[in-house]
Subunit: 210 residues, 2 copies
């Protein structure tokens, strides 16, 4: 098993932090996005969407899509559980992780991809070129601010994004905040005290350096 | 356990078809989207995103997000398997289902929500109003056409979207095609013979009337 990934990719970081939390190590194959290596025939053969990361199994099967890679790794390495250990807990964690991804992570990605000059015609990751739509940038930033407000309200009631336990939902949320801060200039507003407290606490975990 | 859903909602149909395939029945609670019932306090209490469907368990816990609801139902009703029965098969099916959702289903939803006069300021489902962005409509339609082309190429090689077996990926794909045809006037182009053959065959399953 080996992981194709890029240190510059927030989606790859989601996997790296998960691996660090679980104590799983595996060979890493760097994919140089700056050199457009994801568009090579070799990479397209393992990921037709031309995105990182991809997990390649020992039989050559390729697994793409971050939550799917993580679910597979959790299936074969169940302890310690980061995706829940009963059907109900698994559902609650997956639901919150997906909300973070759709409202937070996807909003930052959309804001960045529709604005960065180096991504002209690359507004959506994948095999096809799509022109940037400037009107999307402000809307996406507003979506991220709404995500911050909603998550702050939730974290005033529960210690972690999915409830009582640290989970994959927190990993996606930390990667979202760091990506928003660095790539879109949108750090957590000071008024969101519960979200900031959660961020300081969760960011201190050793895995977050991954 | 009961399902809050709307017959007008393609996301709800994904669950209805799954339930029909599995032979699971449960009480259905209709949510009247036309009357904006999803914005009622009662519904917001079970789904803070104000979207359908939501599965409410006997202890009152609410599970939202279509793939999460389906994964929960599959956990408690494993036979017949529609999400795979080994870690690797589960990963392959989840990967393909997610690609269909992101490239196909989400594209149609975006095209419709940014165009329909009744959805002015409702370009994104959820608790917040967002103005429509007309430039998104054509881009989303192009994304759907690219999804059709990619899926046609895949179905020239394998009988079902995720490979050898009928799965949840086929359900999401059928709901996408029917929604695109009805709501965006984008039926499968005649040139995509493998995709059309798959569509005719899978659409004939009794579950698809759900």
């Amino acid at each position: 098993m080996k992981l194709y990934q890029s240190n510059a990719s927030p989606n790859s970081r989601r996997i790296r932090v998960y691996l660090a939390e679980k104590g799983i190590s595996m060979p890493i194959v760097p994919v140089d996005l700056g050199a457009r290596e994801q568009f090579s025939d070799a990479y397209a053969a393992i990921n037709p969407r031309r995105v990182v990361p991809t997990l390649v199994l020992d039989d050559g099967s390729a697994i793409g899509e971050v939550p799917v890679i993580i679910r597979y790794l959790e299936d074969i390495h169940p302890a310690p559980p980061l995706l829940g250990s009963t059907p109900k807990k698994r559902a609650e964690i997956a639901m919150w992780e997906r909300r973070v991804e759709q409202e937070g992570f996807a909003s930052v990605m959309e804001a960045v991809r529709n604005a960065a000059p180096r991504l002209a015609n690359r507004a959506i990751a994948g095999p096809y070129d799509y022109a940037q739509i400037p009107d999307l940038v402000e809307r996406s930033k507003q979506r991220l601010l709404n995500f911050y407000a909603d998550t702050d309200a939730r974290l005033a009631d529960v210690p972690f994004v999915a409830g009582d336990e640290f989970s994959i939902a927190d990993i996606t949320a930390i990667v979202t905040v760091d990506f928003a801060t660095k790539a879109a200039g949108l750090a957590i507003p000071d008024k969101h005290t519960a979200l900031k407290r959660w961020y300081e606490s969760v960011s201190a975990r050793a895995s977050m350096a991954a």
